[in-house]
Amino acid sequence: MKTYTYTEKKDTRSGFGAGLAELGRTNPNVVALCADLIGSLKMEKFIEENPERFFQIGIAEANMMGIAAGLTIGGKIPFTGTFANFSTGRVYDQIRQSIAYSDKNVKICASHAGLTLGEDGATHQILEDIGLMKMLPGMTVINTCDYNQTKAATIAIAAHHGPVYLRFGRPVVPIFTPEDQKFEIGKAVMLTEGTDVTIVATGHLVWEALEASKVLFEKGISAEVINIHTIKPLDEEAILKSVAKTGCVVTAEEHNYLGGLGESVARVLALNNPTPQEFVATNDTFGESGTPAQLMNKYGLNSAAIVEKSLSVIKRK
C-alpha cells in the first residue's frame, strides 16, 4: 500500500496567501479584496507587493461581492477574502445575482471553513457553504486538503474563466501533497489504490482518510483513497471507476451531510451504479466552541469515524 508521510504542518489559508502572492507577481489582472480580515486570510504579502491592486472594503461583505463583480468589467480577476460563513451565507443573493447569474469572473476565497475554526463557535463556523455554492449554476466549488494543494488551486483558478468558490481553513494540517503537483480543476487525485472500499474525501478529511486507510490495512482491508478537491464539477469518472472495483464507498467532509460532497457522490452512483455508501459528515447540526481536535472528535470527523463507516459499508455489499 502506498503510504504518505509529512515533515511539516501548515494551515491551508497560508497556502492561499502564498498562491495569491505568486499571482500578484505573475498576473497583472489579479486584484484582491478583503473585508477586514487581512491577517486571517494571509493576504499581507500580496498587499505589500501590490498595494494599488488591493481593496480594503471594511466590514461590508455584500459591498465586497458587488465591487468584485464590477472589477471584472474592465478585465480584472478579483479574489475576495473573508471567512467562509461571511463569504457565502451572509452574501448569498449578492453572489447569486451579481456574480453567478451575471457570469462574473470572481474568485470567492473562503477561510475558516467548517468546525476547525474552533473556539469562536457556530456563529463563525459554517457547515452549509459547499451546499450553498454548489447549487449556484456555473459555480465551481473547490475544497483543498493541505498547504501545497491550496497554493496550487489558488494559482489554477486565476486561469479558469468563471466564478469559483475556494474553501480552506485555519488549523495547521500535514503537508503531504507534492509541491509540484499540478492542480487540475475537476480532476480527482488517486492517493492509494485498493480493492475493498473507496474512500472519497475532501479538505481536512483527506489526511484523516489516509490515516484510516492505514488502520484498515492492518485489519486486512484494502482501501482506495481518492481526494476530491473539486466538488463541482465532480470527477464522476474517477468515482465510478473506483466503485466498480470496490463495490462500496465512504465519503468524508467537514460539512453537513445535507448539501455536501456525499450527496453529490450519491447522485452519481444512483444514476449510474447504485452502491452502498456511508457518510462521514456532520448530522444536520450547528457547531460549537472547542478546540479543532475536540470538535472533529465530537462530531465524528476523523480517521476513527472513517474506519468505522468503512467497516459498516463493506458489510452492506
Partner: protein, 290 residues
C-alpha cells in the same frame, strides 16, 4: 466615438423629445403585450435615460463587456427594464424588433435585465434591489486601474435605498474617493405598497448623501430634458475632484401618460387595450414603432 457632451452649451433637444415619445410608446406596447412589467417607473425615467444614452455618455460603437475607453451605465433598479431595453435598442445595441420578445420564453429581454442571455448593452443582472452601486464602484475602480478616464453612471430607485447594501457602498465610495462615478437616484416618492413616506420615510436623502461625503446635485424637473442636461453637466463638472457625485432626480412616476401619473398604482401593472390606446394617443408616433 461620440463626444456629444461638448454640445451641451446649446442643446438641441428636439431629437431627444422625439425619442422620448417613441420610447414611451415602446414601454406601453411592451408591457401591454405580455400583461406584465413595470411601466410607472419606466415612464418616469424616460427623459433621463434618453438623455444619458444620446447626449451625456461617451459610448463606443458596438458592445464589449469590459467597456474600456467609454462611459458605462448600470441600472440598479432592474424592474424598469422596459425603458432600459427601449433606450439601449434605439441607441443601437440590438434590433428594435427584439422589443417584441420582452418577457417571452427564450427571449434575451428577460423580465429584469441580465447578462446571462448575452443581450448587448447589459453589463450586470439587476432586479434584486440594492446591488447596482457596489458593482458600479468596482467598475469605476477598474477604470482607475486601467488609467481610463471615462465615467460610470448608475440609476437607483428611491425606495431601493431602503436596502442596506447601498449604504455600505455609499460609505465606501466617499472613503475611497471614487470620484469617477455619478449615481442618480430616481426620486419619485413611490414604491409598491404606497408612497415612500408611507412605507418607510427616509428623511432627507440629500442630507444623508452629503453626510456620507458625496457631492449632491438636485434636478428639480427630472422629466425636463433641458433640466436633465444642465444638471448632469454640473454633476460631471464635479467628477475627478476626490468625491463621488450623487444626482437626485425628481421625477413623476408614469410621466407622459396622464392616468398613470402621480400614483404608485402603475408600478407593476400593465394597461389594458383601452388604456393602451389612450396612452398611445397621448404620445403620437415620432420615429416609428418597432
Amino acid at each position: 466615438m461620440s463626444s456629444k457632451i461638448n454640445k451641451l452649451d446649446m442643446p438641441n433637444t428636439k431629437h431627444l423629445e422625439d425619442l422620448t415619445i417613441q420610447v414611451r410608446r415602446d414601454i406601453l406596447r411592451m408591457v401591454h403585450k405580455v400583461n406584465s412589467g413595470h411601466p410607472g417607473g419606466s415612464l418616469g425615467c424616460t427623459e433621463f435615460l434618453v438623455s444619458l444614452y444620446n447626449e451625456i455618455m461617451e459610448r463606443k460603437e458596438g458592445f464589449d463587456m469590459d467597456g474600456i475607453g467609454e462611459d458605462l451605465f448600470f441600472l440598479s433598479n432592474g424592474h424598469i427594464s422596459p425603458v432600459f431595453y427601449s433606450v439601449i435598442s434605439r441607441a443601437g445595441y440590438f434590433p428594435v424588433e427584439e422589443l417584441n420578445t420582452f418577457r417571452l420564453l427564450n427571449s434575451r429581454l428577460q423580465g429584469h435585465p441580465t447578462t446571462h442571455e448575452g443581450l448587448p448593452g447589459v453589463r450586470i443582472a439587476s432586479g434584486s434591489l440594492g446591488q447596482g452601486m457596489s458593482v458600479a464602484l468596482g467598475a469605476a475602480q477598474a477604470k482607475k486601474l486601467n488609467r481610463d478616464n471615462h465615467l460610470v453612471y448608475t440609476l437607483h430607485g428611491d425606495g431601493e435605498l431602503q436596502e442596506g447594501q447601498n449604504w455600505e457602498a455609499i460609505m465606501y465610495a466617499a472613503a475611497k474617493k471614487v470620484d469617477n462615478i455619478i449615481c442618480t437616484v430616481d426620486l419619485n416618492g413611490q414604491q409598491i405598497d404606497g408612497s415612500t413616506d408611507e412605507v418607510l420615510p427616509m428623511g432627507s436623502i440629500k442630507a444623508k448623501f452629503e453626510a456620507f461625503g458625496w457631492v449632491v446635485i438636485e434636478i428639480e424637473q427630472g422629466n425636463n430634458i433641458e433640466a436633465i442636461l444642465k444638471g448632469m453637466a454640473e454633476a460631471k463638472s464635479h467628477t475627478g475632484k476626490g468625491k463621488p457625485v450623487c444626482v437626485l432626480l425628481k421625477t413623476i412616476m408614469g410621466h407622459g401618460v396622464d392616468f398613470m401619473m402621480y400614483t404608485h398604482a402603475w408600478h407593476g401593472k400593465a394597461p389594458n387595450d383601452e388604456q393602451l390606446a389612450k396612452g398611445l394617443a397621448q404620445n403620437p408616433e415620432t420615429l416609428g414603432d418597432y
